[in-house]
């Protein structure tokens, strides 16, 4: 087929571009699952003034602002308040009783995007009496989305769906208590932001966060190939205290993973894993 050669060339161009981005900007997308990143890159190219990745590359490697637009296009920033209500319900019922036994709780939320799930967790912990007793480090590779996360502003059009999610997750109050509506925006309560630190962190190159009681990384590693997944899991393991909790997306699991034997799933299917207190090296 005539298109076949074009596809092959485009894939070569993508590999070259990702290599160039790694060398110039330090962002490493070479170990990302290929089908979805190709899809996002191709979408960016179609919307751009360039005819090919080769044509775009010359400027992408020189113009930071143009690269930032590509970065925004290829990192996945889709999230929502109380995404997977069953997960938040399981945290409330099965994890919080353990967290309550600590004087202070440290949480790392890796790949927080615009922060909705971090704020959801903050709401949950406030309702469970842990306000002022926890700190959450919410990190992402993309600094533009972190700025939005720190603002804590939601679209008013999503409030019905978020309210339903909140209720299904076992919410004890009214979701409307946590935001102020202003025109088309909903501004999350300042007290929720107080315990969250938003910070840049790149799972492909940066180091662990020490001494965490809980690490959340949901629907982030599904975009990574095996080697990068293993790197992330090693970071999370190195960050977690014994007895700490590792929370993954509902279609992610520690099965067939090197460190799987050091963890036990709290309840089958919740994807909440507890780190064992001792293990054989």
């Amino acid at each position: 087929m005539s298109n076949h050669d074009d596809d092959e060339i485009r894939n070569v161009e993508i590999r070259l571009l990702l290599e160039g981005i790694h060398q110039v900007y330090g962002y490493d997308f070479r170990d990302y699952a290929e089908a979805s990143i190709r899809r996002r890159l191709t979408h960016w190219l179609v919307e751009s003034p360039f005819d090919s990745f080769s044509a775009a590359q010359a400027r992408l490697l020189r113009e930071r602002a143009l690269f930032e637009s590509l970065l925004a296009g290829i990192t996945v920033n889709v999230t929502e308040m109380f995404r997977d209500p069953s997960f938040f319900k399981a945290v409330r019922e099965q994890v919080v009783p353990f967290l309550r036994t600590y004087p202070f709780v440290k949480i790392w939320h890796a790949g927080c995007a615009t922060g909705e799930e971090a704020y959801s967790m903050a709401i949950l912990l406030h309702e469970e009496g842990l306000a002022g007793r926890f700190r959450m480090y919410a990190t992402d590779i993309n600094e533009a989305v972190l700025q939005r996360a720190a603002e804590g502003v939601l679209s008013i059009g999503e409030m019905q769906r978020y309210t339903r999610n909140y209720q299904k997750s076992g919410g004890k109050a009214s979701f409307a208590d946590y935001y102020t509506a202003r025109y088309d925006r909903a501004i999350l309560a300042a007290e929720l932001r107080r315990d969250i630190v938003f910070a840049p962190h790149n799972l492909a190159v940066d180091a662990e966060f020490g001494e965490m009681n809980m690490v959340l990384c949901r629907n982030v590693m599904i975009y990574f190939k095996t080697a990068l997944k293993e790197r992330c899991l090693h970071l999370f393991d190195a960050s977690l205290l014994p007895g700490g909790f590792l929370c993954l997306g509902l279609k992610e699991s520690l099965e067939r993973r090197k460190l799987g034997e050091r963890y036990a799933e709290l309840q089958l299917g919740t994807r909440i894993y507890r780190k064992r207190y001792s293990h054989v090296e």
Binding site: A33, E34, S36, R39, I222, S253
Partner: protein
């Protein structure tokens, strides 16, 4: 020599549970290809559909897991709230990216990535549905040399999705390879899967 084909991808929306029950229930237990299926479904539907379909016929039906290698005679259903994609090496991949044409999972996302991975060794099937998902993907499968099968709109519970697929193929100046009633599709797939001899060698 093994089959000319590596996999079958199926896209279906409203009317899908009945259509999939009919299609999967009539495929033989020794069907030599994996089937990857996107059925539009609510975000919190759980894995009930996979279990229901698994009980209907001889083929093993399960929700697709990331990095899974699809096996012959197995059916992989896209999980609610995730797109299903195929990696260039043929492994399955998931994505929680934004819905495409309001759908997650999206038929187009599966079809386009599968076309890229398997090229002419892919069979795409569009069944009943009340939207236009799958039409872009089916054009892509044809452009990469694969086979396009569309359920006859007159036979479909919801005609819009097969109609949109046929219209998109026509607009791209390519025809569907087969426009047939649902009950004829399993025999057609079995016959295609049995073709050998390097049509694309």
């Amino acid at each position: 020599m093994s089959s000319n084909f590596r996999a079958v991808v199926v896209g279906v929306s409203s009317g899908g549970v009945q259509a999939l029950t009919t299609l999967l229930g009539s495929l033989p237990a020794d069907f030599p290809l994996p089937l990857l299926v996107v059925q539009h479904i609510g975000a919190e539907a759980g894995d009930g559909l996979a279990r229901l379909l698994d009980a209907q016929g001889p083929l093993r039906v399960k929700e697709a897991d990331e990095q899974e290698i699809p096996r012959p005679g197995h059916v992989y259903l896209a999980a609610p709230n995730y797109h299903l994609l195929v990696e260039p090496d043929g492994r399955l991949a998931l994505s929680a990216e934004a819905p495409v044409s309001y759908a997650r999972p999206s038929v187009d996302v599966l079809f386009e990535s599968a076309a890229e991975a398997w090229g002419p060794a892919l069979i795409g099937v569009v069944l009943t549905g009340a939207n236009h998902d799958g039409s872009r993907g089916l054009v892509r499968i044809k452009a990469r040399g694969g086979i396009a099968i569309v359920q006859d709109p007159a036979d479909a519970e919801a005609a819009q999705m097969p109609q949109a697929a046929l219209a998109a193929l026509a607009a791209a100046h390519i025809g569907a390879d087969h426009v047939v009633a649902l009950t004829a599709i399993s025999a057609l797939l079995a016959a295609l899967a049995a073709t050998k001899g390097g049509r694309h060698a």
